[in-house]
Symmetry: C2
Subunit: 198 residues, 2 copies
């Protein structure tokens, strides 16, 4: 299996972002996550915070985006404008270099390419609830509700732009329960796939 | 990861059964698939063909099963009786030995055990359509319709007995697109996970 590019979709709190980052380091290739947001901010003139939230969550899920509806860029809503720019940027990156891309429907955007491995990382709710408190700290909202909200928004965004169901095994070449393999185990598993004989 | 038992759920035509069989051979453990049917036939007195179809497909999907509704064994329909016997047999096997079990909701039946790796094998429809003609030959029904029928029955059976959605990534520790890895690649991937350091 010769794959240059890995896309990582993930449930909130599953450690998918960390797995992507560590995998990229181990492979010696760039990981696009926050970096993608910075490039898009430069390119579109939109605020980073807006791109971060709007680029992965439900269209118009950010109160700010309502203000733009009907007077977006080139007749598009700002959500759709951002989606187009994000799509172009992801295609441009994939053309240019081997890399890991976290989130942002990259699996769908790059679906025509043969050199992409699409991965989905998930974990049981209880494990993810523990992890988000460890990684992001406590908030007023209880962890299980935070998970539900984020997962729901990601699923709606994915469905809206790809017309596919988020988290369905058939959308990915590989899905991993990170609680069964651990973060390091998941990184090693993917590293072996990408560098091994299989 | 220390796992003694592997359950393989699979889309029809994905090669999941072959992967299970070859993995078991490579690991030197038994693969329960047809063997399970034979054991169940001995135990229940039901016909092998009935068990083969009824044990994995929709309850009452076999015309024969209608005849039993309301006059099954111990007040159960024959489908539910078979499900109970199948559940007991799978639990008994898991208790006794390291093995690979193909299909039959074994992932769900063994969900409380910590020594089980639950795997789902799938592949794009076009690849599966090609494979079923190669493996099972042509029939009067066109291959894509054969796939739809079998997948639908397995999904309904799984939903009925487990109350979970078949093929949802979150039900499994690992899901594999066999068209991306190949049969041998998928076997090696699983073998390395089960015998390696991860």
């Amino acid at each position: 299996m010769k794959k240059r590019i890995v896309t990582i979709s993930r449930e909130f709190g599953s450690g998918g972002r960390t797995i992507g980052k560590q995998l990229a380091e181990k492979l010696g290739v760039p990981c696009y996550d926050k970096e993608l947001i910075e490039k898009l901010a430069e390119q579109t003139g939109l605020a980073k915070k807006f791109i971060e939230e709007q680029g992965e969550y439900a269209p118009a899920s950010h109160p700010f985006s309502y203000a733009f509806v009907g007077r977006g860029v080139n007749g598009l809503s700002v959500s759709d404008y951002l989606w187009n720019e994000q799509r172009k940027k992801i295609q441009e990156i994939a053309e240019k270099e081997a890399c890991v891309i976290v989130g942002r429907c990259a699996d769908y955007i790059l679906r025509e390419r043969k050199d992409v491995l699409n991965v989905f990382i998930h974990a049981p709710k209880e494990e993810r609830a523990k992890r988000i408190v460890e990684v992001y700290g406590e908030t007023d909202t209880e962890p299980l509700k935070r998970l539900r909200d984020k997962d729901k928004k990601r699923a709606v965004n994915y469905r809206y732009y790809t017309d596919q169901e988020w988290g369905r095994a058939q959308n990915y070449h590989l899905t991993i329960d990170s609680s069964a393999f651990g973060i390091e185990g998941s990184v090693n598993l993917l590293f072996n796939i990408l560098t091994g004989e299989e």
